[in-house]
């Protein structure tokens, strides 16, 4: 909003406000300030944090009053008796804290921004329905959406996003860029002209990433920080790729307008920090599927739009490790072989079982996520 205001002000200044006596040049400065990416980024982050502070307590109370309370926190948790009763669906706070600054500070004509906001809303709604059904089951038996239903809806968004991304008129990038497949630490595309064959990959990646964040949300504060780090790295990459000078220097494809994503990512980061204010152990609110699906969806959208899907294995390494451990333990171990491979799954339960307290597990995983994010940033230069 402010971007458009700034834009309008700038144009108005150019046409007839240039002659205003004192405030003339200041107006220009002010207008251009509102249009700069860097200022909008900072303001977005601050705004989102402010929003969480203002809305936080109210949302918690509202959710508690409407019985949005967590029934069973995490089936494998060792000390699960302490978790029940915490209000869930805290993802609403994150989504509000992201969308309000996004609407205020982003350039709303930008296609990248459209896609990522669509991702937020779609996955947020999906997660909200899932959370709601977990607490108020529809037909009595099934708690929450079924596994296949969730996968289907996630894949559906992936499909739509892929269609938009690969269609020349709708896409924010050129087809040449859209159909290339990149790998971190390597300058040139591994596959150059995939065309529509890229679509199944996009669908697959969307399902994978959104589910991985969902799995990781099992302890207070566990999912939000690694997601924050990943979002930040993607934001920086978006800025680089959207800047003609930097993208050429670092040998990335120039994606016109990608820099706007940095504003969105900053808003999300600020919202995440604000959420962490309440979510730190012992949590006053948990993000639930609303938050974890939304974060996953946003990360998936960012990964696909910036052509950095494989990089998620590094910067989203915590999520990947959790998903992998859960997959191996359940599908290979318990279902197929009839034995446990690890002591427990996912990864945070394994660490807890080995004797680490919840707080320690969460902080250690933050440390790992931070290190992986830095490696991810390093991959921008080491190509």
């Amino acid at each position: 909003m402010f971007y458009h205001l700034g834009e309008a002000l700038y144009r108005a200044y150019e046409t007839h406000l240039a002659d205003l006596p004192v405030i003339g040049p200041h107006l220009l400065l002010f207008a251009r300030l509102l249009m700069y990416l860097s200022t909008r980024t900072i303001f977005a982050m601050l705004t989102s944090f402010l929003v969480t502070m203002v809305l936080g307590r109210r949302i918690i109370r509202w959710l508690h009053v409407h019985h949005m309370r967590d029934r069973v926190k995490d089936f494998g948790t060792i000390s699960f008796t302490d978790k029940r009763g915490t209000p869930t669906m805290g993802g609403l706070l994150i989504i509000c804290a992201t969308l309000i600054p996004a609407l205020l500070w982003c350039d709303l004509t930008n296609r990248f921004v459209h896609i990522v906001i669509a991702a937020t809303l779609w996955f947020g709604a999906l997660g909200a329905i899932d959370d709601y059904l977990k607490i108020f089951p529809w037909r009595g038996h099934v708690r929450g959406l079924g596994q296949w239903q969730k996968l289907f809806l996630q894949g559906l968004f992936g499909l739509l996003m892929g269609l938009v991304y690969l269609t020349p008129h709708l896409s924010p990038v050129t087809t040449k860029v859209a159909s290339a497949f990149y790998v971190p630490f390597y300058k040139y595309p591994v596959f150059a002209h995939l065309g529509w064959w890229y679509l199944p990959f996009i669908v697959f990646v969307t399902m994978l990433i959104s589910n991985s964040v969902n799995l990781t949300d099992g302890m207070d504060g566990l999912a939000i920080m690694p997601a924050n780090f990943a979002v930040l790295v993607y934001g920086i990459m978006a800025y680089v790729m959207g800047n003609i000078v930097y993208s050429e220097y670092l040998r990335y494809d120039y994606l016109y307008g990608a820099g706007e994503l940095l504003v969105f990512c900053a808003a999300l980061f600020g919202g995440g920090i604000g959420f962490l204010w309440f979510n730190a152990y012992p949590a006053q609110i948990i993000m639930g599927d609303t938050g974890s699906m939304a974060l996953g969806g946003i990360l998936a959208a960012l990964a696909v739009m910036l052509k950095q899907e494989v990089l998620f294995i590094i910067i989203g390494g915590v999520f990947v490790a959790e998903t992998l451990s859960s997959f191996i333990q359940q599908k290979v171990g318990e279902n197929f072989l009839g034995r446990r491979i690890f002591y427990r799954a996912p990864l945070h339960h394994q660490m807890e079982y080995r004797g680490l307290a919840e707080t320690k597990v969460v902080i250690r995983l933050w440390i790992i996520a931070g290190l992986l994010a830095m490696i991810g940033l390093a991959s921008m230069k080491l190509r």
Partner: protein
């Protein structure tokens, strides 16, 4: 009058063909010019039997509702569709008045075809279903609701269908209550002899044959006993006569030993005489046999065939048990050479026979109850109903059939009819969950003053002993153990523990020591044996739960402590701790536990340390505990502290000064903690006081 045309269908096994033939014969006797057509498959029993009675036979394709491989689904769809189409052709050409199906996959295409044609108004034939068993088979359960008439053989089955009538099972005319003395004279049996008549159907039954022969040495000493054994004729797959002869030889019984009180017949000609002469009948649980027993009014000891589809023989038999007309022995199912083998212990059979024969009053009561279940007019009533339906188009069910009789029969039988049917439909983990629920309910009924654990266990077992529901669950648990699916076996192992089946211990030990390797793909991914990690772990858990200790258990635990899978090792160590007071001191176990404290898995170390505290000698244990008290993992250190406590509690000599110094030196920083929330604690305390004061 126009001649009626009837289509009969049903088969696969003889049990479906016999009633169809009986009905057809009766209808042919009544109506001179009626036309009949039997539709069946080329490979089913009906292909042999039907032509013998002079009915025209047409063939269609069909397929069972069992899928061993995914390809079978395609075959099933293909065959059934072809069968339905051909049946439709036959029905359209023949234009019958009624289609009478007796069940089984053979009847499926014809019944479906008629139902489809009816919905489009292309057939005027009524669909009549005849169900012989207590719980309907798959086909009948599926089509029963949309059929015009369902004729059931057991009164309780009526409730399942909207248009069902209890008619009973058509039994041969000659089977009916007869003069016992007269029958004995005809068969040349002394009048004061107690007669046990055992048979397994015209094809013989291996389990009954073998069990009876095994029981003979135990029955030898009885006075005035006469055993008549219908072994059945030799088949390509099974020769009952040779089987029995071999078994008798192995048991060391010569012809001389058996002379005068045991006779074996390959084929029983005059069943009615033998029924009448018998004081006790030992037989299978097939619908036909049970109906004959009721028609003849004889008490029975039933050995139903185990694990049939829908478990129908067991459920039929249980219906008679519920009415007090029979007693039941379940087949014991064991895994053998890749397949399953059913057996009944000869000694058990002998004991049950003896118990029953020693109580002539009870036998008389059972006989009376059996007679009350008889439906002598089954055949005539059925045919009446069919004819009325065909003539009038609909039948008033209230006044139909044995309506009044049914109500009386229903009222006289105690207990809920379908509790077993509900259990019969569960399998695997679902069954285990239900068993756990039922046992939990039973445990609530135990004496409330907390007695010792052992006494509670014994009480629990005693309470389950007489209850037919738990006997049924025990039979199912045994069957689960022999399943090819590991999940079902796993559930079975858990159920053995839940149901406290101590007699199944040998099977658990066998599963534990079974070292058959798993398929290649599983081994590549980390699997080890066919009896996979979960099964072995649960075997140990069940052994600990059963609370029995023997040299075999000792051997199993020692082997368990060296098992390749970490959970088995840790569970074995925990089992040693659980069985602690039964074990006492044992050097081998101590050595194995000591070795386990060096295990690479910390879970095993912890359990081993705890177990050493419970069974170990402090002179050997304490040095190791001192080493372990510097372990990195705080859980191990905690176990060490607890082990010290256990040693002291047992009165083992421990140098307390040294212990105090060691505790001072111990690293008490731990990375784990249990949170205590003052608010939640306060709420809990208030809640407790509210509950204690009798409020909600």
């Amino acid at each position: 009058m126009k001649h009626r045309r009837y289509v009969l269908t049903g088969g696969g096994t003889g049990g479906h063909v016999t009633p169809a033939i009986a009905l057809a014969n009766e209808m042919r006797a009544r109506e001179a010019g009626a036309e009949f057509l039997y539709i069946g498959t080329r490979t089913g029993k009906e292909a042999e039997i039907v032509p013998k009675y002079g009915f025209p036979l047409a063939f269609v394709r069909s397929h069972q509702w069992t899928f061993r491989r995914p390809w079978d689904v395609v075959r099933f769809a293909f065959r059934i569709s072809l069968g339905v189409l051909k049946s439709m052709g036959i029905l359209l050409r023949l234009w019958p008045d009624a289609v009478i199906g007796t069940g089984g996959y053979v009847a499926a295409p014809v019944v479906f075809a008629n139902l489809i044609l009816r919905t489009f108004g292309l057939s005027r034939a009524r669909t009549i279903i005849h169900e012989q068993n207590m719980t309907p088979g798959r086909l009948n359960a599926a089509v029963g609701r949309v059929s015009d008439l369902v004729l059931v053989s057991f009164a309780s089955t009526q409730k399942l269908f909207p248009r069902a009538v209890y008619v009973g099972y058509p039994v041969r005319r000659e089977i009916r209550p007869q003069d016992r003395a007269e029958a004995k004279r005809r068969l040349g049996i002394p009048l004061d002899a107690q007669v046990v008549f055992a048979f397994g159907g015209s094809m013989g039954a291996r389990t009954i044959n073998r069990a009876l022969v095994d029981a003979l040495p135990h029955l030898r000493t009885r006075k005035n006993l006469r055993v008549i054994h219908g072994t059945g004729r030799a088949l390509t797959s099974y020769d009952p006569v040779a089987d029995c002869r071999d078994r008798l030889q192995k048991a060391g019984l010569s012809q001389a030993d058996l002379d005068g009180w045991y006779e074996a017949h390959e084929f029983i000609d005059r069943m009615s005489d033998y029924y009448a002469a018998a004081d006790l009948v030992v037989a299978r649980g097939g619908a036909g046999t049970l109906s004959e027993l009721c028609a003849a009014g004889r008490p029975s000891l039933l050995i139903p065939k185990a694990n049939l589809p829908g478990d129908h023989q067991v459920l039929n038999a249980l219906e008679l048990v519920r009415a007090g007309a029979a007693s039941v022995i379940y087949e014991d199912v064991t895994a053998k050479d890749g397949g399953t083998e059913e057996s009944v212990d000869g000694a058990l059979l002998a004991r049950r026979i003896g118990e029953l024969l020693d109580d002539p009053e009870k036998l008389a009561d059972m006989a009376a109850k059996a007679a009350s279940l008889a439906a002598p007019d089954a055949l005539t009533t059925t045919v009446d109903l069919i004819e009325r339906l065909v003539a009038e188009g609909s039948v008033n069910l209230v006044s139909a059939g044995l309506g009044a009789n049914a109500a009386a029969a229903q009222a006289s039988v105690p207990g809920k009819p379908f509790e077993f049917a509900e259990l019969a439909h569960l399998a695997g983990e679902a069954l285990r969950a239900r068993a756990e629920q039922l046992v939990a309910e039973l445990e609530k009924r135990l004496a409330t003053p907390p007695t010792s654990h052992r006494r509670r266990e014994d009480e629990c077992i005693a309470l389950m002993q007489g209850d037919s529901a738990f006997e049924y669950l025990k039979y199912r648990a045994a069957g689960c153990l022999a399943s090819p699916s590991w999940r079902v076996r796993n559930a079975g192992v858990k159920m053995i523990g839940i149901l406290r089946q101590r007699e199944k211990l040998p099977i658990l030990l066998a599963l534990l020591s079974d070292r058959t390797p798993a398929p290649f793909l599983q081994r590549v991914l980390g699997g080890d044996y066919v009896q996979n990690g979960f099964i072995r772990r649960n075997c140990i858990a069940t052994i600990a739960r059963l609370g029995v200790y023997s040299p075999a258990v000792h051997k199993a635990l020692v082997a368990g402590l060296a098992d390749p899978y970490f959970e088995v090792r840790s569970r074995s160590a925990r089992a040693v701790a659980d069985l602690g007071d039964l074990i006492g001191t044992d050097e081998t176990l101590e050595g194995a536990l000591l070795k386990a404290t060096g295990d690479r898995s910390f879970e095993v170390v912890i359990e081993a340390v705890r177990a050493l505290g419970v069974v170990g000698n402090s002179s050997i244990v304490v040095p190791r505990l001192r080493e372990l008290s510097f372990d990195e993992n705080w859980k191990v250190r905690q176990a060490v502290v607890e082990a010290y406590g256990a040693l002291l509690a047992r009165g083992q000599p421990v140098d307390t000064d040294q212990l105090r110094r060691d505790l001072d030196d111990m690293l008490i920083t731990s990375t784990g903690f249990t949170p205590a929330f003052p608010l939640k604690t306060a709420i809990g305390r208030l809640g407790e006081s509210l509950r204690a004061s009798g409020g909600k």
